[in-house]
Symmetry: C2
Subunit: 333 residues, 2 copies
């Protein structure tokens, strides 16, 4: 492993995140001249926000580990994340992501299915090959459990799509699977590869899992009220596609005139016009969907803090991870 002695100090969260980009590219190059450009298209020039690798490194550092030890975990979770984006876009028929056509839109469904499969395999290869030998098997099992939760969460997402009767509990459970599981395992892998005692690992999963739900709630808010220049998606695209995101589910779960009108807009077969999207946006807010989502976001960040409080971390390490959690909320529109 390429352990860097200087980075053992537990506070420099995010400092070495740039390490992960060349390592992602090195692994993707192994997919050969046909598949690697397709996967590189998905990652883009900057590889996106790298939220999951940041969590891996932060948690490794919080337990006194190095970014070098944690790097295989950082690469693996980011590869799984991109695989799930490619396949989710196929399933949802989404045409744009990160200001670019999605993989299936650019290369066709068959290539997108294949590129996602290749990235899932590559994630396990990177982790099992490069993690320290004593951790590799357990780390691969951690990641695989998260992939299972991700699949079950995505299934719930497909099932609830088009539903106007999803409960907020179903919506939160779906987020715990779709986003919570991967952010949870990012934190767990960071702690494991960083050398944490095994008794600490569930606490890190809990921290990351709650952070993941908060993160997804913010994403759902951005999908309605976010700036297209920031999100890379057209304004109101989630409403236009009648996606059952958290603010909408919370609004539809209420009774009254605004939820009833919103339900009618969602149940109509006609394409949503710009006017419909604007009206739906106002209705979600009026029915309390925005307020509920903001409140839930704060609750999940608080639970992430609680998980940290139960771990015997140094004060500096705890502060660094609290700070990361707060940064999630700071993106909220």
């Amino acid at each position: 492993m390429t352990a860097v002695a200087e980075s053992r100090a537990p506070v420099h969260v995010g400092v070495d995140i740039a390490l992960v980009v060349p390592e992602l590219r090195r692994w993707i190059d192994r997919l050969g001249p046909d598949l690697s450009p397709i996967c590189a298209h998905q990652l883009g020039a900057d590889c996106g926000k790298l939220v999951r690798p940041t969590l891996v490194f932060a948690c490794a550092q919080a337990v006194g580990g190095s970014t070098g030890d944690a790097l295989p975990g950082a690469v693996a979770v980011e590869l799984i994340h991109n695989a799930s984006l490619i396949h989710d876009d196929v399933m949802d028929g989404d045409e744009f992501r990160r200001h670019r056509p999605t993989v299936w839109k650019q290369y066709g469904v068959a290539q997108a299915v294949l590129a996602g499969d290749a990235l899932i395999g590559l994630a396990f290869e990177a982790l099992a090959t490069d993690a320290a030998r004593e951790n590799a098997g357990a780390a691969a099992a951690d990641l695989a459990r998260a992939v299972r939760a991700l699949a079950i969460g995505q299934h719930a997402d497909l099932r609830l799509e088009g539903s106007t009767t999803a409960t907020t509990a179903e919506c939160l459970a779906l987020m715990a699977g779709k986003t919570g599981a991967l952010l949870g395992v990012a934190c767990r892998l960071g702690a494991r590869l960083g050398g944490a005692p095994s008794g600490w690992l569930d606490g890190f999963t809990d921290y990351g899992g709650n952070l993941g739900v908060a993160f997804q709630l913010v994403d759902d808010l951005l999908g309605v009220w976010g700036d297209p220049a920031v999100t890379g998606k057209p304004t109101g695209s989630d409403l236009r596609a009648r996606k059952n995101t958290a603010p909408v589910a919370a609004a539809l779960a209420r009774s009254g005139a605004a939820p009833a009108r919103l339900r009618a807009l969602y149940q109509s077969q006609a394409p949503m016009t710009d006017h419909d999207v604007a009206e739906a946006t106002a209705l979600v807010e009026r029915a309390g969907g925005r307020a509920w989502t903001v409140d839930q976001c704060h609750r999940h960040v608080a639970r992430a803090w609680d998980a940290l409080d139960r771990l015997p971390l140094d004060a500096d390490a705890r502060d660094a991870l609290r700070d990361l959690a707060d940064r999630v909320v700071a993106r909220m529109p």
Copy 2:
């Protein structure tokens, strides 16, 4: 591990194959009430021929290991195999497999993509969770490399689809990726989990890889000349879909009247009639496509035997693995 002392004898190849079915079902049940029935549909009542688990067990026994030690490897390769079938059927648009509608045909493309992803994750989970701790990481890395080769092979398959200029070398390389890699890793995992010295593992991969190509060549022959009652596919379905299988590629690589007429049938945009399929079948045979494929099949089985000869195995173990290789050829129509 549930090592069974009695099964340490290296000759009872295939005896314990029934162990793998309940273990496959136990893992698939973990996918929950929505996804597990979809995956169970793919596996079917009998879980198919279980060729890959048979190889895992046979190779474990050949090195003096038990089926109990090898079981996580057997489960993992069979789950990957089924995942790749589900996704290949999506990519190829195939509607029937094992006498049943394919997963995408029965449940839709989104569910099929998801079910395949879930099975890939589950394969790594089964392997990394249940393999002996000292082997788990290396075994997961083995499996992941095979998944990469599988994806690259499937990409070549998609690229060559509809081509009438694919060389026989391209065709064999594609088979080495699509089928050879998984049968190769089945043998490698069997040997690894069975306790083989690490210096033996490449020999087992070589044995399984060559066997895999032979196996695929037989499958390609069955796709043209096989009995539909045995193959579960309509007669001549590969020709009807203008698939570029080995006999066709070999026939098209020749010059003369028969290849020219076959090329015209393959390049036509019109749907193949029953008459066209019958004519194409005769043309492939006349152009030497069948003879070439049969010859290549024997060559690859011979190479599998050679790989065994280079391993310091007991005579009984070697005979058992030679016998398995011969059984592949025995399916040849």
